[in-house]
Symmetry: C2
Subunit: 206 residues, 2 copies
DNA sequence: GCATTACGCTACGACTCGTAGCGAAAGCGT
DNA sequence: ACGCTTTCGCTACGAGTCGTAGCGTAATGC
């Protein structure tokens, strides 16, 4: 996507955009059927109807390919204004959960995060194409809540940045853990309870 | 461990307990050096000084082996009484974070969780040897807080069980996400902010 | 037409997988 | 002491995947 070849007005035959799309779609399909560990690049190439060499000319390996394939799933994330901070949180959490509920996202996202533990370049790629977009939603939601008077305005900008990171880890982490570790669905009931605690805290009366 | 051969008074040569320990230690060592995807069972066998066939006689594959190797890391988790709910939370979060900071836990734990997405037996094994122990700490901490009067007593037992699951996902999820996705350390400052939000909520004044 | 690049195809050595077969070693009961 | 049973280390094996190289062909810009 953003990091791959610009292909600006170079001489010679241009790369097929259709092949790109077919490869990414085939990757997601294989991810559903086989899972991360049994997914092979040769199989993806066959599914996409391209040669294995074509695949290697565009992606350096399994990790990079799957990051791009999974990142497309997060394009649909947005933050419609629902009138209150609680409603905004519930909306975006349900969106995020809906994406994670898809099997190609479950296995794929977790696998690349695992690999990113030992690969800084891969981690940067994940951050740029997936994580930063999500964090932007947190920023937007807080800004709206401050305008509504639901949250106090920022004082220290550095403190403010830390809080955004913290909230982001709490929201995304809880949804991911619920979905992938506990293995239970993120339904409306769960989201209500989660939002309640996030906004008012554990000590508050239910 | 609990699920493997009981080896009760059978005839014949008993299995070497030293080999078990050597294999698990070698697995963690290989996990640090190579990471999940490049770890091979042949390599682990060589490091442990045993034959590859011996390894396959005890574990059915990479997943099961790594679960057992990583599970040992969580044996040290406990919940010392620090006098208040906030202090208890901070204590156990720092313990959990210290384990996750070790490279053999980062890659290994995430990898087996990823694989568990498509393997129910593996998920059950993870739950039994890792997750349930953590959830027990949540239960214990809430019980103490209720005795201190920091939390309201339970009314509906079913509602109560849901709340424990929710808190568990929020705590563990946030720490895991901070460590593995955001890639930033869980230090005392972060833990203070996290506990503050978990107990008093976002809307509370800082 | 010509240079340049992408593409499909085949083939290749290197590696890992998981299993089978063998002889030797280590315990247990008599 | 003697077998019986099970484990262990070793070697070897077919199957599968990896990532690359080479080749002829297709598509684009000048």
């Amino acid at each position: 996507m953003q990091s791959r070849s610009p292909a600006a007005g170079r001489p010679g035959r241009p790369r097929s955009a259709a092949a790109d799309a077919a490869i990414l779609a085939a990757t997601r399909e294989a991810l559903v059927e086989l899972g991360w560990s049994k997914l092979t690049l040769g199989d993806v190439a066959t599914r996409a109807g391209v040669a294995k060499t074509t695949l290697y000319r565009r992606w350096s390996g399994k990790n990079e390919l799957v990051v791009d394939a999974v990142a497309e799933l997060f394009d649909e994330l947005c933050l419609p204004d629902r009138g209150s901070l609680a409603a905004d949180i519930e909306g975006v959490v349900l969106q995020f959960a809906a994406i994670l509920a898809r099997p190609e996202a479950r296995g794929g996202l977790m696998a690349v995060v695992t690999e990113a533990t030992r690969d800084d370049a891969l981690r940067a790629r994940i951050r740029a194409s997936i994580v930063d977009r999500q964090k932007g939603l947190v920023l937007e939601g807080r800004s709206r809540a401050q305008q509504r008077g639901e949250l106090p305005p920022e004082t220290d900008p550095e403190e403010s940045a830390r809080t955004v990171d913290l909230i982001f880890d709490m929201v995304a982490g809880a949804v991911v853990h619920r979905t992938l570790v506990s293995g239970r669905p993120v339904d409306e009931e769960w989201v209500r309870g989660f939002t309640q605690i996030l906004l008012r805290g554990l000590a508050a009366p239910s």
